[in-house]
Amino acid sequence: MKSVDEGNPLHFQDVTVELGGRPVLREISFALRPGEVLALVGPNGSGKTTLLRTAQGLVRPLSGEVRLFQRPVERWSFRERARLVAWVPQGEEPYENFTVEEFVTLGRYPTLGPFLPEGEADRKAVNDALREADLESLRGSGILRVSSGERQRALYARALAQGAPLLFLDEPTSHLDMAHQLEVFEQLDRFVSRGPSCAAMISVHDLNLACRFADRMAWLSRGRLVALGSPGETTTRERIREVFGVEMEVEQRGEKTVVLPPPVRSDPPPADPGALRVHLVAGGGSGEGILRALLTKGYQVTGAPVHVLDSDEVAFRRGNVPAPVVAPFAPLTERSREQHRRLLGAAQAIVVAPLVIGPGNLANLADLRPFVPVLPTFLVGGPPGTAGRDFSAGQGERAYEDLVVAGAVQVRGTAELMALLSACASDRGRASSRGTGGPAEVLPASGAAREDAPG
């Protein structure tokens, strides 16, 4: 039992908790380190709140031991515990309409007990806490009348006024807007740097907040601690799937880990006769501007294969654009080319961004070739060779010329492209209103004529 380093303010050893005969925490072992912000993450019912309550002796474990400052938690009296741990529970509703100042002053109860009058030290602690939580101007306002953000700050101020080295917070951000959520974590950062044994443990739903601010994250799933470590180490796609049962993307941005909404599957979107389905061939960020313009105008967009973490891959993901992905720097796989051809089969127009062509994406142009005669195809920017975008020893340039010969239209910029596309869409609208609509019938008349269209 004494194997773990003794300097930690809180230590769980094989803690199992049952509530109403149901196991809520199973064999949890970990230590809260001095100076850290530890975020508890996990879905509803994973045991976050119970862990926080067990940590201060509000729940008795069935087995195992919780040690608070090197002593079993149940050996501290309630009062002593309250001087070691400040607790911000979830959804506290005071019954009486205390002023904010009175409310924060109640945080001095563990020090004062029922009878002692408030002294200079207590008033100082309260005033400092009010200042830290930016509540000085509200000290005379009723706690039931202030906004929920202000009340959350008052809860935090009361916990600060307690003067305890440990701070446990249960979902303090769930009712706050983004600015106030950030504020809570910034305050926590300041709190843990106050003293050598200060530390904070907080349960949060927002993985990005946890990743950005926590020193370590504890991942709870069905009462088990499945991972504990820095956000960068522990936050992975697989873990999010395991713990939360959802598909998310995890990205590394500088030193920080970011969790993003799930990418869409590489299937064509359901047909919508109103909007033109545009297939975009891009890479290396060449398609970002075009994609934004297309999505803004309401076109349905599909994408040609892109490499994972390529900026166009990120752009596709953001825009919920279905596109096959391949591993970074690898040549296109047969599977991705097959998916590409399927997406092309469903498209009604093709746009090729001014992309850099190399051995990795040469096949994309080759796969376009059979569709050019039947679909309006627009090549944005000049031929890759002349524009210095060909890194495939001339093969890219030749594939490009092939497309032009097959009837692809060269356009100079995004504005011109959008004008031509909208012409296509209205052509198509007329065609379908005559009842004969279909991708194969909407062919560009001649490349030269289209190039003169207003930009």
Partner: protein, 369 residues
């Protein structure tokens, strides 16, 4: 309401200043009320006589002895002044003091119960303690001992009934599975049950024997004696002091059980102690005078609206307000019908209390802090 202080905190929080001032004001009002009350009443004392009686009392002249320097006649009723003095000292003064003490006791019980249950309907009625007392009293009448009225039996049985009910409720509170809501409903159920029992007793007895019981149930200070005042004073002082010491505990309880525990207070233990004290103070208050409604309910609400919810101030201020309210209500009961007819003071408290309460409730609504 004064502006909250800005910048560095004040040496003494503003709220403390305000509650001290409020305490002084209410104490002054109570003193004035007590001094002026003898002037009204079924046997009223003119102010001039009052000064004279006080002077006599200060020189240590025994009541009803010696002679009046001028034949003073009270209120033109041709009652000799020494008789008036006797009535005042033996009957009116104990009645007033008893009213003040009972008002304070009921208000303390009401404030405590509102705090323990975190419920605005907190009132001595709520726990069934008042009904228990009434059951005890009516049992006496059923047994036919009603003839021995004025004896110690009535208050003794009322007190037993009150404490018995309190014991039942506290027994229920001992179980850790009993929530405060369950306790509250237990009290309501007991009240209802006892009410039915009392109605049954009444229907079993001839009407003539029941007049004292009716008066008792409606609440009245008629027949108050100094020994009663001493007993009620002792009980109220004891329980009141102990309750007042729990002001900060009550404040912490307002944050909910979870937070209270987090702050180092164990709610069930404190709640049981507070319930016991509230029951005691209620039992003392209803034993001699019967059930007087509304004082316990409205006093804390009025004080809360004027002064805020800090129980350290709320408890003593409610006690003062309850005392003033009940002395005034008794004055009204004494003088309203005139001609020596007595109105039960419980009727007055409800008559005056309900509209006043509604006024306070709606005037401040939305204004608040």
């Amino acid at each position: 309401m004064a502006d909250p202080p800005r910048g560095a905190g004040p040496a003494v929080p503003l709220a403390v200043h305000r509650s001290r001032r409020a305490f002084g004001v209410l104490l002054g009002v109570l003193a004035i009320t007590l001094v002026l009350s003898p002037v009204v009443g079924s046997v009223s004392t003119p102010p001039g006589d009052l000064v004279f009686f006080v002077a006599r009392a200060l020189t240590g002249t025994p009541v009803g002895t010696g002679s009046c320097p001028v034949p003073v006649y009270a209120g033109g009723t041709s009652v000799p002044c020494l008789v008036v003095e006797k009535v005042l000292v033996d009957s009116r003064l104990p009645e007033m003091f008893l009213a003040a003490l009972v008002g304070a006791a009921l208000a303390l019980a009401g404030a405590t119960l509102q705090g323990v249950f975190r419920n605005p309907l907190g009132d001595p009625y709520l726990l069934g303690v008042s009904s228990g007392a009434a059951l005890g009293a009516s049992a006496l009448f059923l047994l036919g001992v009603g003839a021995a009225l004025g004896s110690i039996y009535l208050p003794a049985l009322a007190f037993l009934g009150a404490m018995g009910t309190a014991a039942l409720v506290l027994l229920a509170a001992r179980s850790p599975r009993t929530s405060t809501e369950t306790l509250l409903l237990t009290g309501v159920a007991l009240s209802s049950f006892f009410g039915a029992l009392i109605a049954l007793f009444i229907s079993l007895r001839p009407q003539s024997a029941l007049l004292p019981l009716t008066f008792w149930i409606l609440g009245s200070f008629g027949g108050a004696t100094w020994p009663q005042v001493e007993l009620v004073l002792g009980g109220t002082l004891l329980a009141g002091t102990l309750l007042a010491l729990h002001g900060r505990d009550l404040n912490v309880l307002q944050l909910g059980e979870e937070t209270a525990r987090g702050l180092g207070l164990s709610p069930p233990a404190i709640q049981r102690r507070l319930l016991l004290l509230a029951s005691l103070v209620t039992a003392v208050a209803v034993a001699f005078n019967g059930i007087i409604g509304f004082v316990g309910l409205i006093s804390p609400h009025v004080v809360r609206r004027l002064q805020g919810p800090d129980y350290r101030a709320l408890l003593p201020l409610s006690a003062l307000f309850g005392a003033i309210f009940l002395v005034l209500a008794d004055d009204l009961a004494e003088s309203l019908l005139g001609g020596g007819s007595l109105l039960p003071v419980g009727v007055v408290t409800s008559f005056a209390g309900a509209p006043f309460f509604l006024y306070v409730l709606y005037r401040r609504r939305g204004g608040g802090r």
